[in-house]
Symmetry: C2
Subunit: 366 residues, 2 copies
C-alpha cells in the first residue's frame, strides 16, 4: 500500500533532525489561526451537561447537517458528517465499489497519494489518467479511459499538488462520463475555500445520482487535527454509506462537530478572504523568487502548493533530503504524486518564510 | 447488515414521542459526570497555538500512547489510538481477517449487535457460540467451534448485555484456542472500569501474538461522544492496522486525545470508584424491585446492564414499544442480542430513576 503520511512524517522527521535551520514546507497543515468562534465553541462545549458528552447521531449533529445542507443546496438527508475528508473519501470510494459495477477507480496523475492507498485497501484497481502539464484534466482523456470496468472516477479540485481548479465545463463533462459508464464521480473539494482563481465549480452544481462530493473543515478552518468533514451522497447511495460510517466509527467526535457548527454560524466571510489573501501573497512572493532564480514552477489557481523543478535534481526522496541538508528547505518529493511529476518537488505555502525559502533554493542552485 | 444504532435510535425516538413520561434505559450513554480534568483539558486545548489544531501523529499523540502503554504494560509501538472502541474493533477484525487464515469470526450468543454488522461489512462469516444462561463462556464450547476456518474469536468482557465478567482461566483458555487454531482472540474490554466483581482479567494478562485488546475512554470517562479509544496489537500485527487506521481516518480527533490525556494523568482513582459505587447501588435497587415484582433478572458482575424477563411478554421490538406506552419504561428488546435472549429485555442503568422504573414494570405486570 502506498500512502502519503509515513513518507510525509519521514520527511518532517528528517527535517527536524537536521543539524541546521530548516524551513518546513512539507505538510498541508495551515499555520494560520482557526476562527475564534471555533475556539469559543470548544470552550462552551467543555461546560455543557454530561448528556452533551454522549453519542451524537451517527450521521452527525442534526443542526450541523442542516447548516451544511443549506450552504451546499442539498437535502440534510444526503449529508454524512465524517472524521475529516479522509473518512469522507473512504466512504465514497467504498460506496462506489459496493455497487459492483466495476472495480476500477480512475485516478489522475499526478495524484494525491492517499487515493491509491485507499483504492488498494478497498480491493479496487487503479488506472491513472494523465493531467495536462498545467494540471488541468481533459475530459476527453477521461472518457477514453472510462469503461464498464470503471466503478469510480476520483478527482480533487482545487488540486493537490498541481493547484489546478477545474472549470465548470470539465465538471459537467466528468459527471456525464460517470453517468454514461454507470460509474460514480467522486469530487474531493477540500480546498474549495482556497480557490484563488474564481473558477471553482463544485460537482454539486451538476445534479446527478452519479456523483459524490467530499469536503472537510480541516483546511478552510485550519483545523486538520480536529477531524470534522462531510460527504454529500445522492439519495440512492446515502443509506449504505451511513451504515458503513456507523460500523467503522459509530460517529464523528462531538466536541469537534459542536465547535465547527459554531464557527460556521459565526465566522465572517472576511476570515476566509484574509486567508486567501495571505496565500495569494505567499504564492507571489515564492514564485517571484523562484522566477528570479530561473527555476521552473507552477502558479496555483487554488489549494496551497507550488511545484518547482530544478535543473539536474529530480524529485526523489533522496534529493528531498539533500535540499533539507544543503538548502535548508523541506518539501515533498514529486515522485510521491506520480510518474509525471518525478522531476518536481512540492512546496506547501504554510510558513511565513516563503521568500527566504525561495532565496535559499536560489542560492543552492546558483 | 444488522447493527444496533438505528434500532436503538428508533426505540429512543419512540420513547421521546410517547404521550407520557418515559424512563430512558435504552442506551449505553452514562448519565454521570466526565472527569473535571477532561473538561479542563478541552478548555486548555481551545487556547493553544494554531499548530496544536493540526494533524497529530496518525497512530495517536505520542504522550497519550505512552500513558496508555505504561498503564497496560505494553510497548507504546503496539498502541493505536482510535475513534472510540468502534474503530478499534473494526481495525482488529479487519486485521484478523487480512491474515487470510480463515474468514470465520466466532461470536457469542448473546452478542453486542455491532459485531455481526462489522463482520458482514468486512466480508467475514459469523458463527455463534452459546454463552451459558449466566453469561459465562465455556472455553470447551469455543474450542469445539474453532477450526482452521476461524480467523478471529471476538469476545466482550465485562459483557454487554449479560454483565458476565470472564475469569482469568477463561481468558487464558481463549488465547490458547486462538493460538491452537492460528486465529486471533479479540477482547473488547470497554467496560473494564465497570468490573463490579473484582474478577476482571484482561487478555493482556496472557502474552501472545494471537490476541488483540480493544478499549476506549467512552464509558470509563462518560464521554461516548468524544470518540477516543485504542487497540493494543501484537508487534507482528500492528503495522497493517496502523496503515488501515491512516487510510480510513488519517488520525483520531486531537482535542479529544488532548483532553483524555489530561484526564488520565489527573483523575483520582476515586472518580472511577464512585461511578462503580453508583452502579452497584443502581443494580441493587433495580434488581431488588424486580425481585419484589417476581420478575426474572440478571445481576451483572460488570458493565451497566440488567436483563429481565417477564411472564408472557417476549423481548421483541413491538413489546418494547408496549412497555414504553404502558409501563413508561424504555429498554432494548432482547432479540437484538441474539436468539438466546429473545424472551428478555435489556435495561441500561444510566438513569437515577431505576427504582421508579422497576416499580413501574412491577405495576404493569401485576
Amino acid at each position: 500500500m502506498e500512502y502519503e503520511t509515513p513518507l510525509f512524517f519521514r520527511v518532517m522527521q528528517y527535517a527536524a533532525d537536521a543539524d541546521r535551520d530548516v524551513i518546513d514546507m512539507v505538510s498541508g497543515n495551515p499555520d494560520w489561526e482557526p476562527p475564534s468562534a471555533l475556539r469559543e465553541g470548544l470552550r462552551e462545549y467543555a461546560d455543557l451537561e454530561p448528556d452533551a458528552f454522549q453519542y451524537p447521531a451517527s450521521e452527525g449533529l442534526a443542526d450541523l447537517r442542516e447548516e451544511i445542507a443549506a450552504r451546499r443546496g442539498v437535502d440534510a438527508e444526503q449529508v454524512v458528517v465524517t472524521n475529516g475528508a479522509g473518512e469522507a473519501n473512504y466512504l465514497a470510494m467504498a460506496r462506489a465499489l459496493e455497487r459492483d459495477r466495476g472495480d476500477e477507480i480512475l485516478l489522475t496523475d499526478p495524484v494525491y497519494p492517499y487515493y491509491p492507498g485507499k483504492t488498494a485497501m478497498l480491493g479496487g484497481r487503479q488506472t491513472y489518467v494523465s493531467a495536462r502539464e498545467n494540471g488541468q484534466l481533459e475530459p476527453g482523456v477521461v472518457r477514453e479511459a472510462a469503461s464498464e470496468e470503471t466503478g469510480a472516477i476520483l478527482i480533487n479540485t482545487p488540486n493537490n499538488p498541481t493547484g489546478a481548479v477545474y472549470p465548470e465545463e470539465t465538471m459537467r463533462e466528468l459527471v456525464a462520463i460517470a453517468e454514461d459508464n454507470d460509474a460514480v464521480l467522486i469530487s474531493d473539494e477540500v480546498y474549495d475555500h482556497f480557490d484563488l482563481s474564481g473558477q471553482f465549480a463544485s460537482a454539486l452544481g451538476v445534479d446527478s445520482d452519479h456523483r459524490i462530493v467530499t469536503n472537510a473543515f480541516s483546511k478552510s478552518m485550519a483545523i486538520t487535527g480536529v477531524r470534522v468533514g462531510y460527504a454529500v451522497f445522492p439519495e440512492t447511495l446515502v443509506e449504505n454509506a451511513k451504515s458503513r460510517h456507523m460500523l467503522v466509527n459509530v460517529a464523528t467526535t462531538r466536541p469537534g462537530q459542536y465547535a465547527v457548527l459554531q464557527a460556521l454560524r459565526e465566522t465572517d466571510p472576511d476570515y476566509y478572504e484574509r486567508n486567501r489573501d495571505l496565500l495569494r501573497e505567499r504564492v507571489d512572493t515564492f514564485t517571484n523568487a523562484l522566477e528570479a532564480a530561473g527555476a521552473e514552477y507552477t502558479t496555483p489557481q487554488g489549494s496551497f502548493y507550488v511545484m518547482a523543478r530544478f535543473e539536474g535534481l529530480s524529485g526523489t526522496l533522496e534529493n528531498t533530503f539533500e535540499l533539507i541538508d544543503e538548502a535548508g528547505v523541506a518539501g515533498m518529493p514529486g515522485e510521491t504524486f506520480g510518474e509525471s511529476r518525478r522531476d518536481w518537488f512540492r512546496f506547501a505555502l504554510v510558513t511565513p518564510r516563503v521568500e527566504e525559502a525561495a532565496e535559499r533554493l536560489a542560492a543552492y542552485f546558483e
